[in-house]
């Protein structure tokens, strides 16, 4: 139920990293011809040490400080949850707001470099209600980027429909970013850029001012310790490398397992 995206429990506790305890075993020579238990169990000190590695994951501590400060009486730990048995005539299943996505090509350095972000994060950043109030900045250092690259997250993508819609999103995001940011260059790199230009020929004028490149991103590296991201991409049968201050990765949406299960169970499409 209460959902949180994985990998988000990132408090830099001081005992991190510390490796997991290993289970002691009897040697292979001692095993042949008998059925003696192989694993001998943790000694006490090891067990205690291992138990201490537990992060005791917990969100609200139940400390009641907010309650003590709340002079409106709006906080109430006694408001109960409810269990409802409801009957409906019809159901519409939508994908919800998980915003989960398929794995991103590891070479692109998402999860490694803080200035490689997803199109979903970029979308929030561009929103006036978002975390930066619509300011385009690099999450690595809070600086306004001079050059942004928007690329496909996985290279050998065969799903044309996905490639198209994510490129549309990429184009729209760059339209917004360019509008909000001075002296900004955006490079859009996509494998369907030719057919995209044909399909949206009516918007040709709008598109022509954008740097759309037919190509596939290959890898990303940081130049020096604090340098820009250096992106290598293949275009027209050649590899090219360019520097960027921010890399936006176009993701492929993944519907949550619960919704998939629901759709299967009710034998009904997701809208």
């Amino acid at each position: 139920m209460i959902y949180e995206k994985e990998k988000r429990y990132i408090i830099p506790f001081t005992d991190v990293p510390s490796s997991r305890a290993e289970m002691p075993e009897i040697s292979v020579d001692e095993r042949r011809g008998n059925f003696t238990e192989v694993e001998t169990g943790f000694p006490e000190a090891v067990a205690v040490q291992e138990a201490k590695r537990c992060l005791s994951c917990r969100r609200c501590l139940g400390c009641g400080l907010c309650l003590a400060e709340d002079n409106e009486d709006s906080i109430d730990f006694n408001i109960p949850g409810e269990e409802l048995n409801l009957e409906f005539d019809e159901v519409i299943i939508t994908k919800g707001q998980d915003n989960a996505f398929h794995p991103i090509k590891p070479e692109l350095g998402f999860d490694v470099y803080a200035d490689v972000i997803t199109d979903l994060q970029f979308e929030r950043m561009l929103s006036p209600n978002g975390p930066t109030g619509g300011l385009v900045v690099s999450p690595l250092n809070g600086e306004i980027p001079g050059r942004i690259a928007i690329v496909q997250g996985s290279s050998n993508e065969e799903d044309e429909k996905h490639l198209f819609s994510s490129l549309v999103l990429g184009v729209n995001e760059s339209i917004l970013a360019l509008d909000k940011t001075q002296d900004l260059e955006v490079a859009l790199i996509s494998p369907v850029c030719q057919s995209f230009k044909e399909k949206f020929s009516s918007d040709a004028e709008q598109i022509s001012s954008l740097g759309i490149i037919e190509g596939i991103p290959e890898s990303v590296e940081r130049k020096g310790e604090e340098g820009p991201l250096s992106l290598t991409y293949s275009t027209g049968g050649q590899n090219k490398t360019e520097d960027f201050d921010l890399l936006v990765v176009l993701t492929k949406e993944k519907i949550s397992p619960e919704i998939m299960e629901l759709s299967r169970k009710l034998d009904q499409e997701i809208q």
Binding site: C57, E69, D76, I79, N85, D89, E90, G96, Q97, Q206
Partner: protein, 556 residues
Amino acid sequence: MKDKKMLIVGGGLEGVGAALENADKGADVTIIEKFADLGAERIPRDRLIKPGEGFVKPDLEKLRNQSNVKVLPYSDIKKISRDNDKIQTRIVKHSLLVDNSKSSEATKVGIKVCPVNMYDDFDEGLSFRTAFDYYNSETGNYNIYKEDMPACQRGCPINLDIRLYAGLIADGRYAESLAKIREKLPIPGSIGRICPHPCETACNRQYLDEPISICFLKRFVADVEINEGIEPDYETPEQKYSEKIAIIGAGPSGLSCAHDLARMGYENIKIFEALPVPGGFLQVGIPEYRLPKKLLGREVALIEKMGVEIQYNTRIGKDIAFEDLKKEYDAVFIAAGCHKGLKLRCPGEDDFEGIIDCVTFLRDQALGNIKDVKGKLIVIGGGNAAIDSARVGWRMGYDEVYILYRRTKKEMPANPWEVDAAEHEGVKFQFLAAPVEILGENGKVTGIKCVKMELGEPDASGRRRPVPVEGSEYVIDAETIVGALSQGTDLSFLPADHEFKLTRRDTFEVDEETGATNLPGVFAGGDVATGPDIAIRAVAGGKLGALGIHKYLRSK
């Protein structure tokens, strides 16, 4: 359309749009959303935009004013089914713990004082929020982020309170830790040795370094009790119930069901077990070197001490008819497991002595019924049962032990640590090989004809499908061949004209919330309902059945 009741699953932009559209037509709409509030504005993905009109906003204002739309945030669908054109649901709505009709600008202080920082889901992790905060800045509705359980506990099929029992171990309070585990799990020492630990797969610490070794901690506290010679006290409640309950099978599922019922106060619980020993596959499947039977026996004895009776050497369907059992007892729980080894389905399989399925092989070994150990042993399959058979064979003293598997090491469904251990001990692997024919002479197996495989396109399970390489057949000599493909249920104990609803895999169809079968008073759980699975999920099935039986008997 008027007064039509509609459920919209998901409160994102699409969900809100669909809700408004149908509300306009007069329908009675309910939106269910698992997050604390409705969704954010989005950038279109199907058309190009102009800078000024970049975002499409869900019209939350309009939604608020629509009297025929109800929003259920922080809610989960617990159960849903379609019955005669109606959709029946059970929805659990978690409390926001904040009454937003009373909150104001001043409530914001809560955000400043709350000591808990967490990545903000709504902003895709680009900011932090506190445990008391708003989710969607647009509505500014506050909620307190109180998870109902941490990731590990949710990953555990019986939702053991791992955070607490690990904390107790860290504090050196071992006995309390074990007592806490025992409240939910009657066989901690056994599970603490053999569980493939889905909790560790979920552990948050893996994102920092490595998951906590949760499973072995359980074993540790169980071992402390034995080493210190402590006899635990099991308490059963004052309130007693006298209904008679029969349980078929003394595996983890049956034992857990009995344990939970005894803890609820049931005094007449009887387990019928076909074998002379308890534990099901924990006894006659999982080998002694992974789970000493003395330890298992002690844990079962503790359950018996609570007043559970186990009648051994009694096979339902043979010694007692199932129908008689049903008549004589107020409730029946079926926990007969999956004890039928599946066939290799290749020629020669039924013609020679020396070919045996892994269920029989491991059981006979565990019960001391295999005397003739010589020559080469070949095990066919890639699951845990195959590895166990091979490691058992190696210990029994076969000259050489081979595992034959159709795909490669990477695709083996067995736990990787088990595969490594087998390799380490000297079991030999032949990957990308499949049996074609069993060869024999004078009624005895002499070898096996195999064909080399190569990996083709991925199949439905996502694993690459093995395809035979033409003309690559070869022969391996062997005296004993163990087929370890998979297991199925053996329902021959039921009368031929039984009316149970079964799945395509010949397992019982049971209710998700009670373990009830379609016949009143009969419940089922464990492998017999899920197909071959892991012990802790069999325990979960047993516990569910106990709850179901309790509900059933108390409402009769």
